[in-house]
Amino acid sequence: MTQAPGATSAPARPAPAGPPPAAAPAVAAPPGIDAAQAQRLGEDVPRLLNRLQVGAVALCLVFGVLAGLVQLLAWQGSGRAADNTEQLVRVQAIETSLYRADALATNAYLSGGLEPAEQRAAYESAIEQVLADLTAAAEAQPADREALTALAGEVNRYSTAITQARDGNRQGYPVGKAYLAEAGTALRGEAAAVLDALVAANTERSEEELQAHHPVWLVVLAVLVVLGLWFVNRQLAQRFHRRINLGIAVAAGVVLLATLVAAAYGSARNGTAEELQAGAFRTAVEEAEARTAANDAKAQESKRLINRASGQTAEEPWLAASAIVRDNTTRLENWRFYVEVHERVVLADDDGRYDDAVQLATDQSTSAFDQYDEIAAGEIDQASDEVTAELRSRGFSLVLAVLLLLAGLVASGAVAWGINQRRREYA
């Protein structure tokens, strides 16, 4: 066995396995060495080195695994945020399509048996869109399935009632109006309640997961690891002549660098997510609300004429829906263009010029409304695409997770090498 440098003539050699060697006070301390040093002279340094090495390597490996895990969870979180946002957009699209179908069906009702074929086709495709989105939504989010099943039942009830209304209307029977009223109740009553629940649940899920990264944890881990490595370094420095062990320094450096990169990236992503939330995400949600309310208003305009009511109470549903549009839309000028035509419809009806009112409602009012609807739909698509694209560009997160794991491995390798250097000096 080689003697540690600085040791004097062979002291009693302690037993290799067993309790820590009792300090060998029997040996008289040579001059120039204090008690602590003397105690150390009696230590089994190789065993200490082994322990330090194992501890440090384990620390670095654990860092690699945990940090990689944290980053992986953040990557997953981003993916979930994107999924939830898509689901929210989907659910709102279902709501909008249903009200769009209602606006089309009620407007067509005014034309009786002479409803324009394109309007009928547009109604059919709106209902088809609802069903397609329902299926996609049920597949995407199992937690929504029960609510979506209930909604499917209501949609069925609605479209059946509309069909019966159309049949009655075609024969000129007032009973068609009763079916139309039933359809309206199915939509604005039960279906709306389920849709509200779905929108609320998915909004909550999206907003919670938007800030997917938690760079604080990475920093805490790194700090703990560096502290541990510093402790190991100190232990070595006390027993050997070098103040800083190269391997440990390299390991600490690697850990810090990797953490810095990951934490910076995480903060940046969180910042982007916050911007998105206030910007494109809010736009997508609010514009969808506006578009739904707009279609509700158009339906109320037709219903007013169908039910031949006049006076203020007849306008209240339209006014309520219009207020929601004004509060939420970004395309106010386009909405106002439709509102002007609507006011002419109301004027004609209140004056008793019913046929003029119907003419306006089925012609100019519809085309004015359609231009707003199309523009709003474009806004929603653009905003929601922006949000999901941004959230899904998260590939680098996964790379960072692997990087952190590698950093842990490299650090553990560096530490092992560094300590081995010291052990060689013992040999």
Binding site: N50, V54, V57, A58, L61, V62, V65, L66, L69, L72, L73, Q76, G112, G113, Q141, P142, A143, D144, R145, E146, A147, A150, Q164, G168, N169, Q171, G172, Y173, P174, V175, K177, A178, Y179, A181, E182, E190, A193, V194, D196, A197, L198, A201, N202, R205, R308, A309, S310, G352, Y354, D355
Partner: protein, 329 residues
């Protein structure tokens, strides 16, 4: 070395922890709002408390139509050059809109036109609608519309009652209606009246006298279902939720005309009396006298009979115009 197994065990433990975390925390299921099964008590209108003798007593016309048309009753109408009338737009056969021509049509509408022709004799018969402003009103709005002066007349299957005489005036009875039942066609032979409704579900609109009356006369094991209005009752009949509907025979005729499988059993006796009158503001008895004169004229020149035969006879069978009762001052 002894340390290797310890190290690998630690790594394995960390990976296992990772696995459970990654297994995916599921989301709470979205809560489905439970529909409110509001089993409300159907609202029944309070029983009539007034007793004014015979409510069908109206103001006697003190002249012919020609003499009365330029009197005080029509001053405002002639100044306006239009007659404003409150009507229904979805009581089939009584007052509804022809979807093709866009005109109003029905038994009540014919009464409106008869009065308008009397007030504006120089207008050609085909153009008489130019002298009429039709205001579609709900049943609940009949009295307020007259009291506020928004309309000159209300012709909207308006039953004459003592209570209503407190607020407005009525013409003489222009049709003697009564409450009956309508059933699905394969029960038409078995059911002759409300007493045969045992074991069946019968519909009546909420808050109407139809509901009060059927509750009184229907057998114990008949189930009474309420709806928003009579057309809603037809919807329920068509959907198989009820087998019978009860209401005024004119309303039932309108429902029956819309659905060949909804039939008013022939020769049925009404189990309540609903005399229809034309509603006029209480401040205008002269207009009431004019309307009564018009009704008498339509008896003699056959207008009433022609109108009844066109609209109501196919569903309800033959009937005659009721005799007027006068004597109110």
């Amino acid at each position: 070395m002894r340390t290797r197994p310890t190290r690998s065990r630690a790594v394995l433990a960390a990976l296992a922890l990772a696995g459970t975390l990654l297994a995916g925390c599921g989301y709470d299921a979205t809560m489905v709002p439970t529909p409110e099964t509001a089993a409300e008590e159907p609202s029944v209108p309070p029983p009539s408390t007034q007793d004014c003798g015979d409510p069908t007593r109206s103001y006697a016309p003190d002249g012919t139509v020609a003499q009365l048309r330029d009197g005080r009753g029509t001053r405002e109408i002639e100044r306006r050059n239009r007659l404003v009338v409150g009507i229904s737009a979805d009581s089939y056969l009584l007052g509804s809109r022809d979807p093709i021509s866009g005109d109003f049509e029905g038994f009540d509408i014919d009464m409106v036109r008869a009065v308008a022709r009397a007030i504006f004799p120089l207008t050609a018969a085909e153009a008489i609608d130019d002298r009429i402003t039709y205001r579609v009103i709900t049943a609940a709005d009949r009295i307020p519309a007259l009291e506020s002066g928004r309309v000159d007349l209300v012709v909207r299957n308006f039953s004459i009652t003592c209570d209503r005489w407190e607020q407005i005036a009525f013409s003489a009875t222009y049709y003697e209606s009564g409450q009956q039942v309508l059933v699905i066609s394969d029960l038409a032979d078995a059911v002759d009246g409300p007493e045969d409704l045992g074991g069946l579900r019968v519909c009546a609109p909420d808050g109407t006298t139809s509901l009060t009356n059927i509750t009184d006369v229907a057998p114990e094991d008949a189930e009474i279902v309420t709806a928003a209005n009579h057309t809603d009752c037809l919807v329920r009949l068509q959907n198989g939720e009820v087998e019978a509907i009860t209401g005024d025979d004119t309303v039932l005729a309108g429902l029956s005309a819309q659905d060949p499988y909804a039939v008013v059993p022939a020769g049925q006796e009404s189990f309540s009396r609903e005399p229809y009158g034309i509603g006029v503001s209480a401040d205008n008895p002269d207009l009431v006298r004019l309307v009564n004169a018009v009704l008498e004229q339509s008896r003699t020149d056959g207008t009433w009979e022609a109108s009844y035969n066109q609209w109501l006879r196919p569903e309800l069978g033959p009937a005659t115009q009721p005799q007027p009762v006068y004597g109110r001052e």
